[in-house]
Symmetry: C2
């Protein structure tokens, strides 16, 4: 087992250097690779398979709520981007510009989409005439580009994969309902598929999306106490509709502007999985999103009957679970480490002695528990154990999140907490931009959200002492 130990030693410990641990894990678990394109990543098969499972979980829910997929061009003419003032101010500084096609200089620059509101608005302006055309419930899977200065795989890259929902509705109420509905879909996927607990709430005006009337968010907490904005849902009101002239004739034959929403999640959620569940042996994947849920490792595989039995079990279990079997010539201990590094939720060991006893050994990735199981009720035990792993990961993450959630009533107390015990800090806020800026300036923390579940911690703003308008989750964020 010397090799086994060595493999583990090559990874930096989370507590020594969290950033280096993260980099080690994405590399050793074979999720991504670097390329000569600055700030862009190569998503390798194992990383992409996680994304495919996440896509499936989201796409099924989008379709179940009546949404349809479409595809818009990846280029936006400069004049189209300029149509909505706040939107262009938010995005123009960080877009990539195409200026030449072949040898020919373009008469108008095209930006590579940083997000597609403007294209959807143009399309809606052309295709919506009557109340019968509403609602439009569209979604798009694609990649977008934002010219970031510093990047980290999954968390912040020049190009990333995402989905962007864009909807148009007859009334403000319907748009608001849609905005919250999709936020809840995201929260459902994070909690029940990725086993990541979230705080749902509204962004402050400072933190909202460029051009939005209101932005809602799900915020999660990483193992190092930093927050991650994990999905956002925006209500645009009729702002874009007025800029792009998207009007419909209502039942009384009156012209009305539509009300719009947009909502998106990205490949950064893979970063969240890593930083919420991972440990010093590598990745830990929730079964619902794991490309391989169970790895079968034959022990003494050269002995008669072992490989046959391992193959037989693989075939049996593949009917219900995502299963692989590793019969390569590496040592079993080395294989154990490799699949722990890759976060496979459970391994099954089977050797000559197990076969004699009509049993197998299951080992959980999350808590290392060993389970001796009769081959007669293998499916049932695997199913129950995977479900238990999924629940345990969520519970464990929730406990850690709660443990790292603090309360402050003054800015001094706040500063002391955020600098010594990173995490969410709940604090009251008067609603003024000055106080929000002061928190950022003094501590580097930002308002993550005004949660739906409000608490009355005190009657005063923790910064200025004026009457508080709402409780805010503050935190340093990725």
């Amino acid at each position: 087992m010397a090799k086994d130990k060595k493999l583990v030693e090559e990874i930096t410990s989370m507590n020594d250097d969290f950033a280096q641990w993260y980099t080690d894990v994405i590399k050793k678990a074979e999720l991504v690779d670097y390329s000569s394109v600055r700030g862009c990543m190569v998503i390798k098969p194992y990383g992409y398979a996680i994304w495919e499972n996440l896509q499936k979980a989201l796409d099924t829910r989008f379709k179940a709520t009546g949404h349809e997929n479409v595809y818009m061009p990846m280029f936006i003419p400069e004049s189209l981007l300029l149509k909505e003032k706040e939107h262009v101010e938010g995005f123009a500084p960080e877009v990539a510009w195409v200026t030449h096609g072949g040898d020919e200089k373009l008469t108008e620059r095209l930006c590579v989409r940083p997000t597609s509101e403007t294209l959807f608005c143009e399309h809606y302006s052309n295709s919506i005439q009557s109340y019968r055309d509403l609602p439009k419930l569209y979604n798009q899977w694609c990649s977008v580009v934002r010219w970031e200065k510093t990047t980290r795989p999954f968390l912040r890259t020049l190009e990333f994969l995402w989905q962007e929902g864009h909807t148009a509705h007859a009334t403000a109420e319907e748009a608001q309902e849609e905005t919250i509905k999709m936020l809840n879909v995201y929260a459902d996927v994070l909690e029940n598929v990725l086993a990541i607990p979230v705080i749902k709430g509204r962004k402050t005006d400072k933190e909202k999306f460029a051009g939005a009337h209101a932005t809602y968010t799900i915020e999660s907490l990483m193992h190092d106490g930093k927050a991650l904005q994990s999905g956002t849902s925006h209500n645009f009101g009729d702002g874009f509709a007025k800029a792009f002239d998207i009007q419909y004739t209502d039942k009384n034959n009156q012209l009305q502007y539509v009300h719009q929403t947009s909502w998106g999640v990205t490949t950064r959620l893979i970063g969240a999985i890593i930083m919420v569940h991972g440990d010093d042996s590598g990745l830990v994947l929730p079964p619902a999103v794991a490309p391989t849920q169970l790895i079968i490792i034959p022990v003494s595989q050269h002995k008669e009957g072992v490989l046959e039995k391992a193959n037989e079990l693989k075939d049996r279990l593949s009917a219900k679970f995502r299963v692989k079997m590793d019969d390569s010539d590496k040592m079993p201990g080395w294989k154990f480490s490799e699949y722990e590094m890759k976060g496979v939720p459970m391994r099954l060991e089977i050797g000559p002695k197990d076969i004699e006893k009509n049993q197998a050994v299951l080992v959980r990735r999350d808590n290392r528990e060993k389970i001796f199981v009769s081959l007669d009720n293998l499916e049932e035990t695997v199913e129950n154990t995977l479900a238990d792993i999924q629940n345990s990961l969520l519970e464990k993450a929730r406990e850690l999140r709660d443990k790292k959630t603090y309360t402050a009533t003054t800015i001094d107390e706040f500063e002391q907490i955020i600098n010594t015990t990173p995490g969410f800090v709940k604090g009251m806020w008067c609603g003024d931009r000055e106080c929000e800026d002061l928190v950022k300036e003094k501590t580097g923390a930002t308002a993550r959200c005004m949660p739906f579940e409000q608490e009355q911690l005190s009657e005063k703003c923790m910064c200025c002492g004026k009457p508080a308008k709402s409780m805010v989750y503050w935190g340093k964020a990725y």
Copy 2:
């Protein structure tokens, strides 16, 4: 039924103006819309749903043959594109160049990928060391950009969606085997999912992919007698490996270059479906790829019990088929036309008299056949009829293709045929570029492929009279 008639009249007849018919169909069937981005299309929900079904059919087969999905950056630095000489000569004139990120001028231009050989090669060069790392069987779903002068939705657009497989192998034999295996996967999907018969063969050197050792193709014939290159599979030999230094240590500890392939199909296949199966009433979709396989239209839907029965049938049939029910307030005749336009393979009509008789009326889109069916064996009849439609479409397309396939033994005969009865023309070829150029110059037709199934039509080249080396399928192409 006045409205019904009107809707149909709005479409140009195929025989009057095939190009206009095509444009009418993609618009009326709600497959695409135009945008302000030159040469790029908005793929609407119905068009995208066809693409999703096609993706599923392909992706399942890619995975079953051991391939894994990955994602590479969308940008290629100019210096990386320049590494393989033939490749860059083929693609540089038609790429879009990014020169600025935000306000900053880039020190090196980036092109938006026209295809990703160079990125895969860079990745392989970094990640392949030993024979144990081979084969690499990667695929990517993404969009690519080629700066075309003239464009048509699906057939030729600046940006299009596609998949690109990129593989690396230890030996030339394995690479050749892979090249042909994937060509056969494409042929399988075209024939058995899209109901489009194909000619499999090899491209001439003139027509092969920039940088390839050999290009194989599947060619199909559209209703107007023009050919469509429907999928290609390239064997690169070790050309790219040498340009990008992709070497591995073999079992004897010797350094060897890998052998590579790439293969791709695009959204142009949706254009093929339209132009192979469509008619003067619109689109005709093969059941295997149709977003809706059966549309239920209640007749006299205000009468008691009709909508309830229609809903009941919808729920019953949805367990096995992709079914929709239209209970909007439009006239049934108008609905009939609408779903004919959209190419839904079959409609089910149910009204008060049908309910009395415990029956429904099925109407096939392909041949308009009416089938009265007892509700007791509805599932069975629907299943068999959908299977029959799928087969009939393939048969019908094959008959038409065969009818429009001609033979020429001299260039004069060839010219006369291709100008009066467009289609495939089989003709012998000496293998010289001059003769190939002459055919193009005189007639506009190109060598579509040298088919695997060779025939000895004559011993002489149809152009120059010198000894013939192979039979070629010639044709005018999209």
